[in-house]
Amino acid sequence: MNEPLVELKNVSFKYDAEAGYALHKVSFTIFKGEWLAIVGHNGSGKSTLAKLLNGLHFPLEGCITVGGIQLSEDTVWETRKKIGMVFQNPDNQFVGTTVRDDVAFGLENHGIERDDMVQRVTHSLEKVKMAQFLNQEPHHLSGGQKQRVAIAGVIALRPDIIILDESTSMLDPRGREEVLETVRELKQDYNMTVISITHDLEEAAKADRIVVMNKGQLYREGTPEEIFQMDEELVNLGLDIPFPVKLSKMLREKGLPLSRHYLSEEELVEELWTSHSKM
């Protein structure tokens, strides 16, 4: 997992020459096959980062390389083939009148042959478990189903990287789980790299690595274990601490001998069970 796929070097960006930096001197690397969560408060620069990665904007200073290609206006069509994006609002990313047309749209734009296209549409919709909705109109679908169709549209193009830009934040808990489960499976099957921009700390806890953004700057990067050691510092950044971490801390304050911060409820229950049965 140590092959760099995307590299950001000293990237700065402003939306308006007069305004402050939306991103300031951000550098980090995204490795092939990892699930990277980018977290931060509203306005911390997370979404700007996503827009830069997909070449919707270009860095004012610094540079971004995707799969060895430096991102610029000349290469953007090349790099966009490598990156698929799923946005926040399920209602803003449907272009087709049916599920099938919607998935085919991107393929058509890329000039894929019809036979190949038909096959890819069916295959991608099967992958996201939406094949039985082929001829449905989008407004009959739930939010989670719409997002899964959006994902099918993305994977039909076989990108190396999928960026989820708060793609689950408008969904109910069931829809959220559906979408994340779908992405987890795809990541496994295709060895895809996932960049998930999120507020959901429970989701971030399951990532391989986390980047914390604050006020347009990279504040910290590390494994979930390392990041959630930050504790109150995260709360001060407008974020939260996952429930099991919070609970471990409170139990330790009560004098229970827990060996570490637990990132999952299962691990914590396991540890409690072990020490309970020893007593």
Partner: protein
Amino acid sequence: MDISLQNVEYRYQVNTPFERLAIKDVSIDIPSGTFLAIIGHTGSGKSTVLQHLNALLKPTEGNVVIGDRMITSEKKQKNLKEIRQRVGIVFQFPEHQLFEETVEKDICFGPMNFGVTEEAAKKRARAAIGQVGLPEEILSKSPFDLSGGQMRRVAIAGVLAMEPDVIVLDEPTAGLDPRGRKEIMDMFFSLHETRGLSTVLVTHSMEDASRYADQIVIMHNGEVYEKGTPKEIFSSPEGLLKLGLDVPEVVRFQLKMEKSLNIRFSKTCLTMEELTEEIAAAMKRGAPK
């Protein structure tokens, strides 16, 4: 102001091929001063119920009593303005409804529509902007130059400026970061307490329902599936789990722990403080011999 739904049924597009039953036999009492949370899956009928609370929808069967008004399928309703002023609804993503040139004009729009003078409306706008925790300087800005969180607050201020007795919130924290969520919910709770409002919260967050509500109603397939206090609802979470709904993290953890250690806690914990107390006590007692 008391609101009561009595055996309410609502069908969309009656007498067309698209007729669809959205809710049936829904009875909910919301006495003045209640904090009620409505939970349920997308499509369970929550939003349809919500639109009956200020007579945006008229039931196709049953009665809706709002203060001293009775809304039924029979009568052609007149003068619903007073109801709309007294029951303020904050819809999902309310910032999408901002439209004026300045924040002040946007907040004044509602009250002035209900006949409040411009001067009085401006006064209300100043009060409301403070209540949502924004500085007065923001009044002269364009709402579209604000951040998402600020826009949400401005939209909420627009509802508060109507000085409603009942405030209805449809997923008010969706899309906000954790701090923003907590700030907005704490703000509504403090308004609820200090102004003696009735508050109806439609939410997916079991945490919020258990923390703030006096009463919880669970909707399923257009019907009331269960109602009770947070303690009652979460003490027997089987129903919730069967519907595939969440329970609060604290309750979920308690259930996992009771199952895995084969023990029973003395009560259902709703806060982390209660939960840590109970865990510590259980650990002290040790394994059953």
